[in-house]
């Protein structure tokens, strides 16, 4: 497959691994903040190729993991509302709410359908005038423009039975929050596809204000290893900056057209990140003139009171201060088959990935 196979050549990989071994002098901690990176790093066995001094930790890069329990509860309540169908990305199906999940709701008779895009959800609304279709809008800057395009399409056509329950979030404020909370990080492996939309300029504040190294990279093994090498060199040279390794997709300015769609439909708001709390201006909400598409406004939703499991440390894992097997519940009460916290549910979650792939000791 073009743009994939060439970046997986074994010889290039082993050469990069050698270069890293030779350049690394001391200990480095790098955080990645993208679920796709979490999965790729472990799927390709990257940690097994690195010398012991390099530690890779996962941050809050999985949109499912940082979605609050209350949001899931609201979706479940909506799915049981007469005349409402929830059309969702598959990733949300098994996320545990306070008492249940969307998957269990469906088994209990709720109208829950899996879609691959916001567009598909709109098409369901168009072909089922008797149904109010709610699309859970989760995801970061990579996904928000797609929701924006779809909402504008619905507005343009006058579709009245399509709604979004918004939970889109943006990365940079969360990264800043993690730095300020004191997690020890030497550099960031910056999110590859968020950056396609935002451009590298969105991350300039990190080296400028905090002196941390940043490299924006892709998802193939050569991308990831190149990025690690570039981060090491920045640190060794005391020259932190934002570098783009993923040049075939990312530019300094990003995708202006996508940004325009986002700005037309959304405005910033405070957002509750599971494990991190409320972060100012880290979320997106529908602008006033498009509020008629907001499921939160259109439907009255009552949700149960949420008491988080006292032993669940998803928050600390999402902040990068703990690793999955430090959690008392990990691999015992909390497994991919019976997840307690969101980090275990999502295929991109740190705990799920650790459980599936965890590397050689």
């Amino acid at each position: 497959m073009k743009y994939v196979d060439e970046f997986r050549e074994k010889k290039l990989i082993s050469n990069l691994a050698d270069q890293i071994k030779r350049s690394a002098s001391g200990e480095y901690t790098f955080m990645e903040v993208c679920g796709g990176h979490t999965a790729a790093i472990h799927r390709f066995g990257i940690p097994s190729l690195l010398p012991h001094g390099i530690k890779l930790i996962s941050g809050p890069g999985c949109p499912v993991c940082v979605t609050s329990t209350e949001y899931i509860d609201r979706l479940i309540a909506l799915s049981f509302t007469r005349g409402v169908a929830v059309a969702t990305f598959g990733d949300l199906m098994r996320v545990p709410g306070t008492e249940s999940s969307l998957s269990e709701a469906r088994a209990g008779g709720a109208d829950v359908r899996v879609v691959l895009s916001a567009y598909e959800a709109l098409e369901i609304a168009r072909s089922h005038h008797d149904l109010n279709v709610v699309f859970p809008a989760i995801g970061f800057e990579t996904t928000a423009p797609g929701t924006a395009v779809t909402v504008l399409k619905a507005a343009g056509e006058g579709t009245e039975n399509f709604f979004v329950l918004n939970a889109h979030k943006v990365m940079p404020p969360a990264m800043e929050e993690i730095i300020r909370a004191g997690t020890h990080i030497d550099g960031f492996i910056c999110p590859g596809h968020v950056s396609v939309i935002t451009g590298s300029s969105a991350f300039e504040f990190i080296p400028r204000n905090y002196g941390l190294a940043c490299v924006i990279t892709g998802f193939e093994p050569t991308d990831l290893l190149s990025a690690i090498l570039m981060l090491i060199k920045q640190i060794n040279n005391h020259a932190p900056c934002v570098e783009i390794q993923y040049k075939r997709a990312v530019t300094p300015a990003g995708n202006i057209v996508a940004q325009k769609f986002m700005n037309e439909v959304f405005e910033p708001c405070d957002s509750d990140w599971r494990g991190l709390g409320v972060i100012p201006s880290s979320g997106l909400t529908l602008r006033e003139r498009l509020k008629n598409f907001d499921a939160g406004t259109a439907f009255i939703i009552e949700v149960p009171r949420n008491e988080p499991d006292p032993f669940c440390i998803c928050g600390e894992i999402l902040r990068g201060v703990s690793i999955p097997d430090e959690c008392a519940l990990f691999a015992k009460a909390c497994t991919p088959v019976h997840p307690v916290g969101a980090c275990m549910v999502s295929d991109e979650g740190a705990c799920n990935t650790f459980f599936k792939y965890h590397t050689h000791d």
Binding site: L12, D18, A118, Y119
Partner: protein, 74 residues
């Protein structure tokens, strides 16, 4: 969910396109990319093309990797 993969544009039909990922054909919205033609590669994410892949830059990245490879094996 964050998954975006390189997809080859098979045919364009207004603001939608058929794109191929390893032979599997998907529909993609082209609202966020410009001047897309059959044969181009785009990043497909959640039903939308979020960027056109730049072949020159891809080749440049590969060239740098191979240069490094040559330097090591000399």
């Amino acid at each position: 969910m964050c998954l975006s993969v390189p997809a080859r544009v098979v045919s364009v039909d207004g603001e939608m396109a058929d794109v191929s990922v390893g032979g599997a054909i998907f529909r993609a919205g082209l609202q966020m990319v410009e001047n897309v033609r059959a044969g181009d590669y785009v990043l497909l994410h959640a039903g939308f093309a979020i960027e056109k892949l730049n072949e020159e830059d891809a080749l440049e990245t590969l060239r740098l990797l191979k240069e490094m490879d040559d330097a090591i094996t000399e």
